[in-house]
Symmetry: D2
Subunit: 349 residues, 4 copies
């Protein structure tokens, strides 16, 4: 046991934190040495999460950076926006590897952060240091990094669907429309009437239309891989299911290509990356086909009538969209097999 990497999880009582626990429990190279919740320190974690009975016997810790230096090698921060802003720099300074699952270090522009998140941005020096961990796109930067900013759930699904065609220069950057749909767990475990079962069941709605804070994150990455500014339309919908994101993306092509050429482009781009699976022509992924796993499945259609490309990607928002990708980044960072501890077959049905 003592040769395993020791992991601490801050924010262990949110859905992202609990999912990190589930996934890390089957990681061959990691042991969880501290589960941390400021609001419930001192309570056995299984009290609030009976599914962990006899599996995780830890009592929740409070935050104590000195202790963390003794007990952990890597810290996952799965806290609400605005908490890691202050906390992550201290952990980094304490010599810990940090993987932050919040939005606090994703946007390189503090001004954009403030505008979209309505929070004071983090210290620019640490924002600069944070590597954006979209594993399949920025693996080279993640390898050897010490401070990872883990992507948002919508950006993960969306960027994996858009980056190949955008980075190849085939996309009309002014045409990109993203119609995203998410299950409810993406909204977290906090209480609000909007997440009450009776309000969500047998209901479908759009929310934060043209105002979602993941918009600038998507634009930042697309602009970077395109080498020019991309501005997108991004709409989010809430679907009556617990897990899953499906992102439907519409792109006009700068010049015409066949559907086959485009599918091949995606196959090439993701060659050797086991967690992205490209569907053959005429097939579309469903969120259930990646449920509980770290996969991102992508289907592509080119409409001859409009010359417009429709790209559909699906992920499990809590795995590839959060905890799974965080562990994938840990694997890359440590030089381990990218899929270590992540070989979950999707749960079906």
């Amino acid at each position: 046991m003592s040769t395993k990497l020791r992991a601490a999880i801050i924010g262990s009582t949110g859905y992202g934190g609990v999912e990190l626990i589930r996934l890390l429990l089957s990681h061959p190279n990691v042991e969880i040495t501290s589960v941390i919740s400021t609001s419930r320190a001192g309570v056995p974690i299984a009290d609030g999460f009976p599914h962990l009975n006899q599996i995780v016997t830890n009592t929740l810790d409070g935050i104590d950076i000195g202790q963390l230096q003794q007990k952990a090698d890597v810290v996952f921060t799965a806290t609400p926006h605005g908490v890691a802003t202050e906390l992550a720099p201290k952990l980094v300074d304490a010599g810990l590897k940090v993987i932050d699952l919040s939005g606090d270090f994703r946007l390189k522009s503090g001004e954009a952060y403030e505008r979209w998140y309505k929070h004071k941005p983090a210290d620019p020096a640490y924002v600069e240091k944070a590597v954006y961990g979209l594993s399949e796109v920025f693996a080279d930067e993640v390898r050897g990094a010490g401070f990872i900013s883990n992507p948002g759930c919508f950006p993960t699904a969306t960027l994996l669907g858009l980056v190949p065609v955008v980075s190849e220069g085939w996309a009309d950057l002014s045409s990109i429309i993203i119609d995203a749909k998410t299950g409810v767990s993406g909204g977290g475990r906090g209480l609000s009437l909007g997440f009450h079962y009776s309000e969500i069941n047998e209901n479908l709605l759009a929310y934060k239309v043209n105002r979602h804070q993941h918009t600038p994150e998507i634009e930042q990455v697309l602009s970077r891989v395109a080498g020019e500014a991309a501005v997108v339309t991004f709409t989010t919908h809430l679907v009556p299911m617990t897990r899953g994101i499906l992102s439907t993306m519409y792109v006009n092509l700068r010049e015409m290509h066949t559907e086959e050429e485009i599918i091949n482009l995606y196959r090439r781009y993701y060659e050797g990356r086991r967690f992205v699976r490209i569907r053959p022509a005429g097939k579309w992924p469903a969120t259930k086909e990646v449920w509980g796993s770290n996969y991102c499945d992508i289907g592509i259609s080119l409409d001859q009538r409009t010359g417009r490309l429709t790209i559909i990607s699906v992920i499990d928002n809590l795995v590839k969209g959060a905890a799974g990708q965080a562990i994938q980044n840990l694997n890359l960072l440590m030089g381990w097999d990218e899929g270590a501890g992540l070989a979950f077959t999707p749960v079906y049905p």
Copy 2:
């Protein structure tokens, strides 16, 4: 009782037919005199639909046009595609008023029908005669008509969302993208693995991408109200819920208008039409807000960043998207109050 209009329903054992029964039962001017199912003639309808016990005591009839002439004034045909093709003309010739809920008489082009439906089109003389019953848009044509082709569920939600801005000439017709989502009842009551509960629950998927047969119906109406050809991108998604359609529409404006101007345009367009409700700026409709009712609720957002309009409309696919609009058309056709028998408050929660 004898002064009521006598209605027969063909296809009484599909979801559309059963919903017609539910709605007509509370119509003040109509009595149901025959419920017809070719496959189950002779059986009391409540045998297969226990919710109708002691409410509808009718035995299912077979199709007999001579009998229908004796028993009915109006016939609703809620049959699968390809059945009304032959049947509706005979009913029309028999002097019956006919409201067809299938897709068989919606497309004026037989060639388009054949390409998208993979069926032989109906006799063009009857296609010509059929009035497309999008009640709020074509009420003048519906009034006094004897043969109505009731719109599809997706086209109803989508066209009510697009017609005002398109008919006003403000929309860039080449830019229209429709991302539609539907509950499962829209797929009917037939058996297929794709509708098995275990496959649909906690799942979300796209289907018939760029191939859905409602595409030409949408384009036909948009082209008509625009006075020029419109070609759209149309994607359909299946959502784990029973009822409800939400259509998210993206439109580039030909010239800039304020969000307020656009909302006012919609308010003016639907003035006096009780079943369309326009949300104020910054508010978005949810399918539950129209559940079980004949309403179509619409929300509008103009993104200053992209100059693109996002329009969101919701309906209950079995009411406004099928049986409810059919009755609304009957009301118009008979010169009755448009809302007779349709004053259902949405069921919440």
Copy 3:
């Protein structure tokens, strides 16, 4: 309009209150003159309930008994336990007809109320005056009454299933076991982690085992109709759906009867009561078969192997289990047709 009975609803922003609004809107003899919410007075009700847009334009009122005397003939109190305790007596004293949907006046024993509800009981004089409105069983008492205590949702489903065999003296009173299951709306609209969508969806659980406050209500009525004390085992389960209660009841017979005799007993007992429907032998009701309606459907099986009776009843908890039965009681009380304003066909599918 002025000849209609004027109704006020206190607690208009809970699920029971909103359902009262939906149902009363289609009642031919009633008009809603005041919708009351202490917490949100002054706000248009449609602000919090967009499904009521353009249907109910009322602004929420506060509680003012003097005003109520001017504006209303009957008041429905759909408040949390403990509120009507004080409020209902004042309304009664003000000469208003009162129909209380809470549990505050159901238990004749103040001691039992205090033990099960953990609240101070109401003034015994008013408890005595309140007529327990299980419409099919106590219609004679309801007729002409001025103060009705409307039954709980579980007791309604359960008692309608048990009263015929218990009042006939055929049931072994020591053997009664009730295994009840409810949708989530029965828990109300308040916020708690236990009603969060992600916690309830794809989940099933028992709660308040042997501790549910509806236990003494069931026992009180069974004891009354049996003429001797009945003590029951009562278990409640939470099912991932919004509406519906299914109660499965197990009863040993004092002496043997055939299944047919028992079904006939039920048919006789409920003869002429349109809202109770008895299934034939070998058929079982489903909650969807009464969804959105005031029906209670009952199926009965006698197991030859064990000599034990299994009775299954279903209701919509917000209609027959709350608002619908309240209106049924109003109809009885006013001497109107029992079903006035309640002719809702169950919504299917």
Copy 4:
């Protein structure tokens, strides 16, 4: 690889078979060498199950016992009732270890099998040979056995809840009532209107009341551990969720014990058996707390008012109720760690 146990799965395209694949893929000592479907032989399994893309590349095989002798050491038969009747004996005779997930070898009485299953029973010699694999109760018999009859889903949940109190002699055997609830996947992947999403969603119903074929299986085991005949009342309900069984059991005690004594009895009985977790007094398990895992969680309440015991157990019907327990039996049979390949943390939320 060659040192791993080689497993074949017959019935790979049902839910039980697909779940066996998912679980065996993470078993350290097993490799899947053949996935078999008579109806779809020759097709890559991932064609029908896209979630297995790039994970299982096998093409479905037909049944060929000679080949199986070459390719496999153990065969799982996950076929509909009546198929293993003929097939399993041949596999046993071919020297293969056989774990049968169907009901064909569970009942020792051929007469009972025929009465409840409406099928011809299997050859009594093989029925005799088959070891009933309720892992926690009959582990000693499973160890070293070559032919296992894997328990049904309802009997697994129910018997784990009842066996301790029954085998201790504390239960009144004439009093046992089992009110069981299951998710839809327990009904398999076959098509029927009863499993159509629109029929099941927002619905709850009882089925096969007093007629379910799992009744004699439960009685057989209870009678065996009690040493005298037990006859039970058993009711099954269908709940709108995909996975999960919750069994609520009611038992009169022969003589009084405290709740604490009973909980301690259960703790002792399951000491050292990691997959059964007993809740403390006043706590009740939920199906989500075992979702996707091999756990069976049990809660117990003794009602002082009635002297009656209420026991609640939950399992994932496809894991502990089928594929998981089959693998647990394989582990016992092979002398491996009972939990090998089964260390799945329940998936939450």
